[in-house]
């Protein structure tokens, strides 16, 4: 079930009503409703993979229980590795099996050996990369004794399958989300209204920005050899806004929906395109994944504690793994590598934590220096997105070559003025809301109701109008 579908528009109010009016007296029943609703939500896409989520949840639930009872370190380690093997085993099989087989065949054929391909027609279960990391965080935290293992299986199942964030995050830590299932949820008007505002903004990002940009980005990337350099730059720019609108839009809808049910999820995006350097970009883009890798990979590998070589090695590892997490294609790995290369100079000169605050905190506009830094960071990010979007490494290389070969300074063949104006307005609203958890959190909130509501009604109408042409799935569903 997609957030931008009529199905979800019917599903959400039904679950909301049952949650607050039928099951509200009993916490266990409320959690059971969340599990049931989440499973229905998932089955809407493909019921066959529901068993995978249930199995994965049960394995980690049982391992959590075993870890409580077991004091011997070797056994505890064994349980931890069992959880890692099961979870990453599923992920590896469904997501990376064909990639490894194809690359082995290519590697062997390079040395003259011919191997019969044995690839399988595997469907990638939606959300597997997200819920796998979520359940892994639980087992690792229990192993490290940072978290008491849960005795309540319903809460645990609800934690793994919580429908707002099941298929594309944010990737919640067990330490943050699981305890929220133990406590009675109170309904707060202001929180629910803010949740609605965030859902509205998320839908706008997805339907009006991302899906419109997708039409042009797809056209330009799929026919890249026929376009001038300036049009190819436009294609990369459209994809840049598409992926941001798509993924941060999903996160906004997920967080907003959770708030309607009395849950708080992590902020996943903090206006990343206003970052002054690539380190700041990575602190504000897909925050839940970046911090997951930091806490469960970078720090266990030694983090920044070792010498320069250790820091460089660990940085490359997390960026490469992050790229590979996005998909079984060399394009994602090179995208990760490029970001590691961007990050390296900042790390080596200890400037990777220079910009911890929000840009232009006390002013309306950034200074000239800040503006130039933002533009520079944005430029290198757009360049990296070419690899992320291209169909193959060869395609990415040709795309980049074509940018510089013909008509880089000519008027682009594709320049939809309506969309460009919409993107400028969208980014202006994002700029105004850069200090908040989402753009609409405080914008116009203090204004007269008529002004505020007119704006919301306009957004809502635009979402409906553009939804007629919106056929794009969320990009991150494929990861």
């Amino acid at each position: 079930m997609f957030f931008n579908s009529l199905d979800f528009a019917v599903f959400l109010p039904i679950v909301f009503m049952l949650y607050w009016f039928v099951t509200n007296k009993n916490l266990g029943l409320q959690n059971a409703l969340i599990v049931a609703a989440s499973y229905v939500f998932y089955c809407w896409w493909d019921w066959r993979f529901l068993a995978l989520i249930i199995f994965s949840s049960l394995v980690d639930y049982c391992i959590g229980r075993f870890l409580t009872q077991e004091e011997r370190t070797p056994w505890r380690k064994l349980y931890l590795w069992l959880s890692i093997l099961v979870n990453l085993g599923f992920l590896g099989f469904f997501k990376y099996y064909n990639f490894f087989i194809d690359n082995f065949i290519e590697a062997f054929s390079f040395f003259g050996a011919s191997i019969q391909p044995n690839t399988l027609n595997i469907i990638l279960p939606v959300g597997i990369s997200f819920y796998t990391f979520q359940t892994l965080s639980y087992t690792i935290d229990v192993y490290k004794r940072k978290l008491e293992p849960t005795q309540d299986i319903v809460s645990f199942l609800a934690f793994v399958s919580f429908f707002p964030q099941l298929v594309a995050g944010p990737i919640e830590r067990a330490t943050d989300l699981l305890p929220q299932f133990y406590k009675k949820r109170e309904f707060h008007y202001s929180r629910a209204v803010d949740g609605c505002r965030q859902i509205l903004w998320g839908l706008f990002k997805k339907v009006v920005i991302a899906d419109q940009c997708a039409q042009y980005a797809n056209d330009i990337f799929n026919n890249s050899t026929g376009y001038s350099g300036s049009t190819l730059v436009m294609g990369a720019l459209f994809f840049t806004f598409q992926i941001y609108g798509d993924f941060s839009g999903y996160s906004d809808i997920a967080i907003g929906t959770s708030r309607l049910f009395g849950f708080d999820l992590k902020q996943n995006f903090a206006t990343p395109y206003f970052s002054r350097d690539i380190a700041e970009f990575w602190r504000s883009w897909h925050i839940s994944l970046s911090t997951w890798f930091r806490d469960y990979l970078y720090i266990p590998l030694g983090g920044s504690r070792g010498g320069t070589w250790m820091k460089v090695r660990n940085t490359f590892i997390i960026f490469l793994v992050s790229g590979f997490w996005h998909g079984a294609n060399w394009t994602f790995i090179i995208w990760g590598l490029l970001n590691a290369i961007y990050f390296l100079p900042l790390l080596l000169t200890n400037r990777n934590r220079n910009h911890l605050g929000v840009v232009a905190t006390n002013s309306y506009l950034p200074s000239l220096k800040e503006g130039l830094s933002i533009l520079g960071t944005f430029g290198i990010t757009v360049f990296a997105w070419i690899f992320f979007r291209a169909n193959s490494l060869g395609h990415a290389m040709v795309y980049i070559e074509d940018i510089f070969s013909t008509g880089l300074f000519a008027l682009p063949e594709i320049r939809p003025s309506d969309l460009i104006v919409t993107i400028i307005i969208f980014m202006s609203v994002e700029w105004l809301g850069r200090r908040d958890k989402h753009a609409l959190e405080n914008i116009l909130v203090q204004r007269y109701r008529v002004v505020k509501w007119s704006f919301y009604l306009l957004l809502f109408a635009l979402i409906l109008v553009y939804s007629n042409e919106s056929t794009q799935e969320f990009i991150y569903f494929q990861f």
Binding site: L6, A9, W20, F187, Y189, A192, V193, C196, Q212, D418, W453, Y456, L457, F460, A461, L464, V465, Y466, S467, N468, E469
Partner: protein, 300 residues
Amino acid sequence: MKKFIKTILIFALIFFIIDKAAYFILVKTSKLQSDKKLEKILEGGMDKELIILGSSRGIGNLIGEQLENETGLTTYNLSYRGSDINFQSYIFKSYLLHNSVPQDLFLVIDNPALLDAEPVLSFRYDRLYPLAHYNEINDTLIKLKKHSIASRYIYCLRLQSSQLNFNKIKPVNNWLIDDYGSQILYGKSLYITNISSKPTDDYTVEEDVEKINSLNQIQELCQEKNIKIHYIFPPNLSSFNKGFLKRFLQLVPDDVSLFIYDDNKSIYKDEKYFYDESHLNNKGAKLFTKDVSDFINNNK
């Protein structure tokens, strides 16, 4: 909770009222279209004796006014550029629903693309979107999964983003649709390619079952309403596909009224009568229309 539900309901109610403004946008933008054929069909009262269905080869190769003068039958060209047989069938059904039954129907055949599963020709949704304020059109779009079922109640869901731009829609290349529904092409395209006078027997396209069904539906409707159907094969500067003709004849009755252009005539081999390899220009269209008129007059 009460306050929240009240707020949501008030918001929904205000939106529901404001949404009605979208109806006026729909009506206004429908007036900005250069092609008003479908609207004429829906409004009814066209009541022609001869109607023409087809794609660009129908709209540009047959001159409605000339046909009317030469055959004495009131004529309207209901062809749409780029339309497939599914769309032509839809137009025909709509016509019959709102207008009196014609005496004759010309179905201009796209040889060899008529039944091709590849989307060379398509269902012209773009002609339906501007008329979505008609419930009938909206229901069709719902059936075709282009509009949500909620669009029955919410007008915003019937709007396309392009309709928020209130500029008059100009016809492609300024080729005007005349009062008889024809859209004559003038001059010559810069690119005339693929010229081959040799007929070919090679017909290996993958056929679309839905398109075969549409062809059958047109035939059944004609039989049911006692409409005489004539299949017109317009001239082509590129090769004539005999393989397709053979296949086509399997799908129509034996006593079919078929008009195939005479490929022995020098005009149909002369580039100066063509806009491009598969479309006649105004000079060619006049001569071809005359040939078709003669065919009809001889078979009256």
